[in-house]
């Protein structure tokens, strides 16, 4: 069997002389070399371009783009100083109004109305001593004139005429010499 097979191979070899029988057009290969050179070049060239990017560039770029492209929602920042300056006069006015309302307009206020009758005599005397500089002689005369019921209470008899004259001269107040008084 093996012998027969070898015989057939030899027979084919002798008949075909390893030729397939296909033929190509004349000058085909010289022209084809030119035509295919582009494709041959592509095979020789690198597909990598050698460009590199910084580490984590693609990770960070997303946020950078979003920050620049997407308009930020505007958050209105109000300065504390501006608020204070705006509301301080209002607050002050309100405080004063409240204070006055509590103290003067509130009917439940415990502050009693001050009248001359409610004052103790010692208080009046103390006030007169403390404020004597502010009271003129005329003030005293006016007050005393209306309240002197009994002239004898003054015990004018005990005052000498010389003393009265000296006192008048010392005061240099001629109004006391007015006869109407």
């Amino acid at each position: 069997m093996k012998h027969n097979l070898n015989n057939r191979k030899d027979l084919l070899k002798s008949v075909l002389q390893k030729d397939t029988g296909f033929i190509a057009p004349k000058n085909y290969f010289s022209g084809a070399k030119e035509s295919f050179s582009s494709f041959l070049l592509e095979d020789k060239l690198p597909k990598e371009n050698g460009f590199i990017v910084p580490q984590s560039y693609f990770k960070d770029i997303e946020n950078t783009i979003i920050e620049k492209a997407v308009p930020k929602k505007i958050v209105k920042i109000i300065s504390l100083k501006r608020v204070l300056l705006k509301y301080l006069p209002i607050a002050t006015a309100a405080s004063i109004t409240l204070f006055l309302s509590i103290n003067y307009l509130n009917p439940l206020s415990s502050i009693e109305k001050v009248s001359f009758k409610t004052l103790a005599q010692s208080d009046i005397e103390n006030w007169i001593v403390d404020n004597s500089n502010e009271l003129s002689n005329q003030d005293f005369v006016a007050l005393l004139h209306s309240n002197i019921i009994n002239e004898n209470d003054f015990a004018l008899t005990d005052i000498r005429n010389d003393d009265i004259e000296e006192y008048i001269i010392y005061l240099e107040n001629t109004s006391l010499l007015n006869e109407n008084y």
């Binding site: 582009s38 990598e48 371009n49 050698g50 460009f51 990017v53 770029i61 979003i66 492209a69």
Partner: protein, 182 residues
């Protein structure tokens, strides 16, 4: 596709816009970054352009009429932003755009964010010599493996024109590399 429709609807709704936008960034940030990076070369410039791209997407999402895919629309914005950026830089430095691209490619040697070997550097320099459209097409087809149909939608150019651009780009790159390495 369903997910994309839902995402677009969320992006157009004021209540869900921010959350959807976060998702959008998360999905597309890397793809858009690499697309921009291949145009502007430097990482710092890419970072600026990428941020501007997403800001533009956020602001204009209401105008997106869904005639194209969301990704194509975003890719188009990124491409325009990157090209505008390069043009602006060229104007500032008083050089023309092709010169600007070559300057950028030559700066790779000292770029801390470039770790490519010699052949990768030569390839970038070769790409920099290409006209703008060919450069875009080559990058999108060769590195990003975007189909011609998708590319057609993004760049609003016919598939045939894109194929021709790619073919010319490859030929020019081959020629540049041969000159450099011989």
């Amino acid at each position: 596709m369903t997910n994309e429709i839902v995402l677009i609807a969320q992006l157009k709704n004021v209540q869900t816009k921010e959350k959807a936008f976060r998702e959008l960034i998360s999905i597309y940030k890397e793809r858009l970054y690499w697309h921009i990076r291949k145009i502007v070369i430097s990482h710092d410039d890419t970072d600026d352009v990428l941020q501007n791209t997403f800001i533009k997407i956020y602001k204009n999402i209401s105008k997106f009429n869904q005639e194209s895919k969301l990704f194509s629309w975003m890719y188009r914005i990124a491409t325009n932003e990157a090209i505008t950026f390069i043009n602006k830089r060229a104007k500032e430095r008083n050089v023309d755009i092709s010169e600007m691209h070559e300057l950028l490619a030559s700066s790779l040697e000292s770029d801390v964010y470039f770790s490519g070997d010699e052949i990768q550097q030569i390839l970038q320099q070769a790409i920099a010599t290409l006209p703008q459209k060919q450069r875009l097409v080559f990058n999108m087809k060769y590195f990003d493996e975007i189909t011609y149909n998708e590319m057609s939608e993004i760049l609003e150019t016919s598939v045939g024109s894109l194929k021709a651009s790619y073919f010319h780009a490859v030929k020019k790159i081959e020629s540049y590399i041969k000159n450099k390495t011989d």
